[in-house]
């Protein structure tokens, strides 16, 4: 019935193969167009699938497994090359191909001076293909395949500028983290296979409720191991350190992979396996807890960064925390809804930031920006739209999705006061850090007059406008999304109405914005005062330093202390240390093995002898 849905996957794959083989032969422009075309067509096919799916009765939309052919069959075990078409996968297709297409178009212009233009588009297509494979998979096996390929594509794209050492290092770090996640997933899949004798979603999900009690040890083990993969991919504590570093890659990559699509794979995984997770409420609490903690933790970090992309990266982590909070407390469709709105406004923010960086000739430090609202009016508007959505200003999409999660974190069955408090606190931080960037970047006067920022050309602006439009209006589709995804999750999520709580949450967000404004405005006043008091010669100097000093003293110091604590103790000495140490030890062992490999035959013979004596010892005495 949906067999043609295979084209959604095949088109980007063809794009990747074609571009990587013929990339050097065809002109640059055509390569870019080809890359966009495949994803665009894929999006159109997705729309067709969506249309057909909507034509069906809601309960008939589930479980359309389209098998291409049987890949492996050995005895009782079969592995089909199959995709699953249901509302959840189509929903993800829409986001991946839709946002992906816009970002492809944006990249046409953004990357136009890069000598390896076609390679970039080849990688982008590879990424789109892998991501689609991940969400289309009808069994855990192809899920993991897609999972691994997404990691690979991300590695290639982060390290795209290979002459940049920091990018290569960041790519490696991301890869290592992702492999850790992959191993967790594979072990989970093995356990699933051992228990259900199948890897297919259909079989596993239908058998699980009968086979296992709630909170069965095996179920907890499986869900937790799957979570290792989910957390690694979605940059949740403690597997988060790669995401900020991944900003070393080109900005469209950050927008596509590290904001809109790949990092949400973890949320998708939990939603997809909701049957298993519902059997393991302990794991659900764990997810919600980690999500909430990450939301706050990343928020504090975001408040002290000066790199425009890093701020947005931390904000991504924080928003992913929200999504995990949502799926953790069992309101899966709210999590997916936030995933969608976040994809729009975060892609918008990243692309706007990219436009800023483009206009500023590669500058990423917000301290060196300022006053861009005149030079880049369009980007200013789009960034502002993204920022208000992210901050959850009423009637924007971010408002609807975030409110739904915050409400549920109190009222839902698994919700409680602590989750709610953390969510609200994080909402306040969100408003603060994103508007801090906004004020720094677009308001006031330029802090580096020697650069002449310019507005980006139309081809970059168009995707921004589309995304801005979507970010503003898609919030009203909340009910539709819930209805659409409802059959997958068994029931639609309940919308809780609670005016008091809602007001508090909104106020928290607005409060954050206001604080940012106040801080910024105050410093403006000081600046004016300083200007009058001191000779204009020092103007520039103050402009550069004094603001920061005041800013520092008033607000940042305490926050920074916390942020620095996290960064130093948790990141540098905690997670990073562990990761580095593991790498180091592996190398040491490797060197040790090489050391034994002395080249001396007698040593070899001796080692054989020792091995033999040991083996015989075991046989004789044990």
């Amino acid at each position: 019935m949906f067999f043609y849905a295979w084209f959604i996957l095949i088109l980007p794959l063809l794009g990747f193969i074609g571009l990587s083989l013929l990339g050097d032969k065809i002109p640059k422009k055509q390569a870019g167009y080809a890359g966009c075309l495949t994803v665009g067509l894929s999006f159109l096919v997705t729309l067709t699938v969506l249309g057909q799916l909507l034509g069906l009765a809601p309960e008939k939309r589930l479980g359309h497994v389209e098998t291409l052919y049987q890949w492996v069959s050995s005895g009782s075990f079969k592995l089909d090359l199959a995709i699953l078409i249901d509302p959840l996968s189509v929903f993800m297709f829409l986001i991946v191909t839709g946002v992906g297409f816009l970002i492809h178009v944006y990249s046409l212009e953004y990357m136009k001076d890069d000598p390896e233009y076609s390679r970039f588009f080849a990688y982008l297509n590879l990424f789109i293909f892998s991501m689609l494979l991940l969400v289309a998979a009808a069994d855990f096996f192809f899920l993991i395949v897609g999972w691994a390929f997404v990691g690979l594509a991300s590695y290639l794209l982060i390290g795209f500028w290979k002459e940049k050492t920091s990018a290569v290092l960041a790519a490696r770090k991301a890869f290592v983290m992702n492999v850790i996640g992959d191993v967790g997933m594979v072990i989970a899949a093995l356990m699933i296979f051992q228990n259900f004798n199948s890897l297919s979603y259909m079989d596993v999900f239908s058998a699980a409720p009968d086979q296992f009690r709630t909170n069965d040890d095996t179920m907890l083990m499986i869900t937790l191991l799957l979570l290792v993969g989910a957390f690694a991919k979605s940059a949740q504590i403690p597997l988060h350190t790669w995401l900020p570093d991944a900003m070393e890659g080109p900005t469209p990559v950050s927008a596509l992979i590290h904001a809109a699509t790949m990092v949400t794979a973890g949320v998708y995984l939990v939603a997809r396996c909701h049957v298993l997770y519902e059997l393991a409420p302990y794991t659900m609490y764990f997810i919600a807890g980690i999500g909430a903690i990450t939301a706050i933790f990343a928020g504090t970090m975001g408040m002290v960064q000066y790199d425009i992309k890093r701020v947005i990266a931390y904000s991504t982590m924080s928003q992913l925390g929200y999504m995990f909070l949502a799926v953790g407390i069992g309101v899966f469709s709210f999590g997916m809804f936030h995933l969608m709105t976040h994809a729009f406004f975060k892609a918008l923010l990243f692309l706007s930031a990219g436009s800023v960086i483009h206009g500023m000739n590669g500058e990423q430090d917000i301290r060196k920006m300022g006053g861009l609202r005149f030079a880049m009016p369009l980007t200013h508007i789009t960034f502002l739209v993204g920022a208000v959505c992210l901050a959850g200003v009423p009637l924007t999409s971010g408002f609807f999705s975030k409110e739904a999660i915050i409400m549920s974190s109190w009222h839902a069955e698994m919700g409680n006061f602590v989750f709610w408090g953390m969510a609200v606190l994080a909402a306040g931080m969100t408003g603060f850090y994103i508007f801090r960037v906004y004020f720094y970047t677009f308001i006031g006067k330029s802090r580096s007059p020697e650069t002449h920022p310019h507005e980006s050309p139309f081809i970059m602006a168009a995707p921004l406008l589309i995304l801005a439009f979507l970010s503003l209006v898609m919030g009203f589709s909340a009910h539709w999304v819930d209805q659409f995804l409802g059959p997958v999750f068994g029931a639609t999520a309940h919308h809780y109405e609670d005016a008091t709580l809602e007001t508090i949450a909104v106020l928290a967000g607005l409060g954050g914005i206001l604080t940012a404004g106040v801080v910024y405005m105050t410093s403006q006043d000081k600046l004016e005062f300083a200007k009058q008091a001191l000779a204009p010669v020092y103007d520039l100097l103050f402009n550069k330093y004094y603001i920061d000093e005041i800013y520092d003293f008033l607000i940042v110091k305490p926050v920074r202390a916390i942020g620095a604590f996290f960064e130093q103790k948790v990141e540098k000495e905690g997670v990073d240390f562990v990761v580095d140490e593991v790498g180091l030890q592996v190398r040491e062992i490797s060197r040790g093995i090489s050391f034994w490999q002395s080249g001396n035959v007698r040593t070899y013979a001796l080692s054989m002898l020792v091995g033999m004596v040991t083996i015989l010892f075991f046989v004789v005495f044990l």
Partner: protein, 478 residues
């Protein structure tokens, strides 16, 4: 007096592959007299011989057939492995033609030794008698000692041959002693009789049998390069001429593994309680030492040596599985492994030139820009060795893990998966060098049609077996 050997068990058709190949091996030697300077003719005659051998493997119908008083078996396993051996030997000969020209290896015996070695492998894969197994192993080993040292003016090659010989002799001692003890414990060298005797509890001295089995395990462990008997592998792989290294890594190893399988999985499953734990430990150690050892290597051949050690760790799981699923996964793994290894070595040979083999991984920097197609092929092989889907290496690993899982070796499989992840690190290192570093040297490739043919064949095999593994899988499963 009754004839000792029943006339009906003298079945020359059953040993047809051995006979055909022996005739060709000797024929090649005689032909060497008339061949003149160029030995290419010999190579092609050898390949014809291997082809004939492969065909003659199907001479027997109605498998399994036991002949010569049950000391020789033609069954599905042996037929499949004869095909693998002939394939790998043919590929080895193909990649050695240009290499021998380039490196001035003028010995026509090279080809006949490869053929004799293949004879040994066939014997090893088909025999169900300890004496035959011993002879098979020795035929294979002696050929390899000579082949490893065939570049006589090359110090590393000499070193490799000598080391391999000394340690190999040491291991042979264990092997022979083990066989003697087993003979003492059971009164027969025939594996089928031994299995029957164990089943009917007729063994007088179980400890003697166990010690014998352990010594055999050690002997085989040396031949397949499993930890702690792997130390020879990196040095020998590095020193031997590249085609010989590739040959060694596939055929003889596969042969030893079949014998391993025959002795342990088919003959001694009844007393698996003691060797199973041992083999699990050895398998785990082999994976870890192989993978961890490979990480710091800078020489591509040493890297592949360690990688092949780690692959043995995975393959030993097939022996642990014991049933037909085990033998099927063993067959499939070795087929894919043959394609991958010969592909990689064909490329390694291409990248070298006379007097400069270019074996440091650093020398591969920037290959992706200068020679994109070759780099792409290398990438495919590396990813396949690392076990990434949809390539053959993945299916092979998956299949073997699946078999082990069905027998309940969950922990072992988890460790194996972990090791696969570690192994990606060094396989990707090669790819990173090719695509992400600036060239440090000039590339002067010695590309010839024959080597290209091998690479193409290997690529097709690696991808085909990855995407459509079913035909071969069902063949292996019969």
């Amino acid at each position: 007096m009754e004839p000792i050997l029943a006339p009906e068990s003298i079945d020359l058709v059953s040993i047809a592959p051995v006979l055909v190949l022996t005739v060709f091996a000797m024929g090649v030697m005689v032909l060497d007299l008339f061949a003149g300077k160029s030995k290419t003719l010999l190579a092609f005659v050898s390949i014809v011989g291997l082809l004939m051998t492969a065909i003659s493997a199907f001479a027997k119908v109605g498998l399994p057939v036991f002949s010569f008083n049950d000391s020789y078996t033609v069954d599905h396993l042996s037929v499949c492995f004869i095909l693998i051996f002939t394939l790998s030997s043919a590929l080895a000969i193909l990649i050695s033609i240009d290499y021998n020209d380039r490196e001035n290896i003028k010995a026509g015996e090279f080809y006949s030794l490869v053929l004799f070695c293949t004879v040994g492998m066939i014997v090893l894969a088909s025999s169900t008698d300890l004496i035959m197994i011993f002879l098979g192993i020795e035929i294979v080993s002696i050929c390899l000692y000579v082949l490893a040292g065939i570049r006589r003016n090359h110090l590393k090659s000499n070193e490799a041959a000598l080391k391999y010989f000394l340690l190999g002799a040491f291991a042979t001692g264990f092997l022979l002693y083990g066989m003697a003890l087993m003979y003492g414990a059971t009164g027969t060298t025939n594996l089928i009789s031994i299995a029957d005797l164990i089943k009917s509890d007729g063994v007088k001295s179980e400890p003697l049998l166990m010690i014998g089995a352990v010594l055999l395990l050690i002997g085989f462990g040396f031949k397949v390069a499993s930890v702690p008997f792997h130390m020879w592998a990196p040095d020998v792989y590095q020193g031997a001429p590249s085609p010989v290294t590739a040959f060694m890594a596939v055929g003889p190893k596969a042969a030893a593994l079949v014998a391993f399988f025959r002795v342990f999985a088919e003959t001694l499953p009844e007393i698996s309680f003691f060797w199973e734990t041992l083999l699990v430990t050895i398998s785990i150690l082999t994976m870890f030492i192989g993978n961890l050892g490979a990480i710091m290597q800078t020489n591509i051949k040493r890297l592949l040596a360690y990688s092949s050690v780690s692959h043995v760790g995975y393959i030993l799981m097939a022996v642990l599985v014991k049933n037909t699923l085990g033998s099927a996964s063993l067959i499939f793994y070795m087929v894919t492994y043959a394609f991958m290894i010969f592909g990689v070595f064909a490329i390694i040979i291409m990248l070298g030139r006379k007097g400069d083999e270019n074996l440091e991984i650093e020398g591969y920097s920037g290959l992706g820009f200068k020679h994109p197609v070759i780099a792409l092929c290398m990438t495919v092989f590396m990813l396949s060795l690392g076990g990434l889907p949809p390539l053959a290496g993945f299916v092979a690993k998956f299949y073997i893990f699946n078999a082990a899982l069905q027998e309940g070796f969950l922990m072992l499989v988890i460790i194996a998966v972990l090791n696969s992840a570690i192994s990606l690190y060094y396989y990707l290192k090669v790819i990173v060098y090719m695509y992400m570093k600036e060239p440090v040297r000039e590339f002067q490739l010695s590309i010839t049609p024959i080597t290209l043919f091998v690479v193409a064949l290997a690529i097709i095999g690696t991808i085909q077996l990855g995407i459509f593994p079913d035909p071969i899988l069902s063949l292996a499963q019969q």
